[in-house]
Subunit: 298 residues, 2 copies
């Protein structure tokens, strides 16, 4: 895990991308489209989706320049293709795109789980996975914002072989990681690079577990007591309102990472419980947690 | 548990209270002082504390009209005394105040746990417990705000005997509950009345458990992964930054309620875990939690 140096891309009158295609124009896809258009980074942003009604909404929000439901036609001239579709559809979509997009095209995704996916797509030389840490409990292109990625971290997940100078099974095209880094940085994001498996273990704790815990907390609250919730409950359970379909997929896809994170969490709960049950000091555990939380800021 | 009717207090040129004393002028005490002064509800607001430096800060923030470190002198003429001191000091303070404050004086507190406290103070006829659901992860009078209680719920906890029309062990002075309700409503709060024990069981879930869970979540996050946290982790762990001393006391004081709430939470986690481990549907659990969370609003 290392932060990438800022790109040296200089301002120019010609947008750096001729055409960028976004497959799935929801919250993330829509925000990428808005940022590309607002920053004049592409001559054309194409929105691709399965339902014309969703694409119409993306046009209304001015997230894309044109739309199509025809995947092959949509990516045919794209230098850059961002797959922002539901996790389970990504492998199939990437394979389809790789067959028809330009030879120098770069394909990435925005999925929250990377290990299995990146392994499965190792043979696709034009693909490198990405994960923008910029979700929201709202969804859809109507909640998209041009600055959604601004200052946020995007993790890019090249295959481990690509980090080794003497790799024997190098499959990804050289220079792809640099191109991808440049792309996310041009949208205002900070880029970190991690092995896909390491990404999944870390994100299980920093992202998937909070959703799991928020859902359990909300689900464990009897409805007759809801008038008695205050700021703490609201904050702690806010992301329980996130899309259950999306999160069900993420939990399933990162089952191993999630269960490891859950063990870690349950162990902490057990230590706190033991302290309270045996009237031993709880304060050092609370202090440590406060210190960790304070390190992150509001 | 029932909402109280709004008070019929009419606007008048004479403030309804001659003198209100606030023992402990931190976030809650300071906010009560600010609201009393801004709404011209008292001729004088007296701030009482152990350390002159804290009282000076409260004066600077204009939360009180004058201050003293002498409890007996501070409450001698107060019609209304609000004890906003650390939980473990409340019983002793209330007993001391009851001995020296005017005969028609009303004493309340703002503590988060009520069962043991209200039982212990049952003999003090001028005391009824209160719990404003308006905490914050910040503390101190510098974070006090005149509108902190505005629109918030304050739970008042009369002894169960007082709710029975034929109570045989009635100890609280008649009319006290109505006076107390009027007081909180005049500060803009909504008042609910609950049995102290029922309050503790409910608040264990709606307030204490979220702090417990937020602390466990933050504490279970390895520091090297902190650059990878996003909005979800921030929201879910925000209250882990709350005062460990205060929350250690609350957890200890409401041990029984907390352990019951924790059982409820762990049962929910176990059901979710079982679903993911056996590849059974998780969606209905996530859906239910989302519905409960949505019922509360942002």
């Amino acid at each position: 895990m290392f932060p990438m140096p800022p790109s040296d891309q200089s301002p120019s009158s010609n947008p750096p991308y001729r055409q960028v295609a976004i497959v799935g124009v929801g919250l993330i896809g829509g925000s990428i489209g808005l940022a590309l258009r607002q920053r004049r980074l592409a001559e054309e942003v194409v929105g691709i989706g399965r339902r014309q009604s969703s694409l119409d909404k993306a046009m209304e929000c001015e997230a894309v320049d044109r739309t199509t439901t025809d995947l092959a036609a949509g990516v045919a001239d794209a230098q850059m293709v961002v797959v922002a579709a539901p996790l389970r559809l990504v492998p199939c979509l990437v394979r389809g795109i790789a067959e028809v997009c330009p030879e120098d095209g770069l394909i990435t995704d925005v999925g929250s789980v990377k290990g299995a996916l990146c392994g499965e797509l190792a043979a696709i030389g034009s693909f490198v996975g990405s994960h923008p840490l910029a979700g929201d409990h709202r969804s859809g292109p109507d909640n998209a914002r041009a600055d959604l990625l601004s200052g946020k971290v995007v993790v890019v997940t090249p295959l481990p072989e690509d980090s080794k100078s003497h790799g024997t099974s190098r499959k990804q095209r050289p220079g792809l990681l640099q191109q991808l880094t440049k792309f996310w940085e041009s949208l205002g994001a900070r880029v970190m690079s991690m092995d896909p498996g390491q990404h999944d273990r870390a994100l299980a704790v920093t992202s998937h577990l909070p959703h799991w815990v928020a859902s359990a907390m909300a689900g464990a609250t009897p409805e007759e007591w809801l008038p008695l919730v205050a700021t703490g409950w609201r904050d702690t359970t806010r992301i329980a309102a996130a899309d259950p379909d999306l999160w069900g997929q993420i939990f399933t896809e990162n089952k191993a990472g999630l269960l490891e994170a859950l063990d870690r969490f349950e162990d902490r709960i057990a230590r706190m419980r033991h302290a309270i049950e045996t009237e031993k000091p709880l304060l050092s555990l609370l202090d440590e947690a406060k210190r960790i939380r304070n390190a992150v800021g509001d």
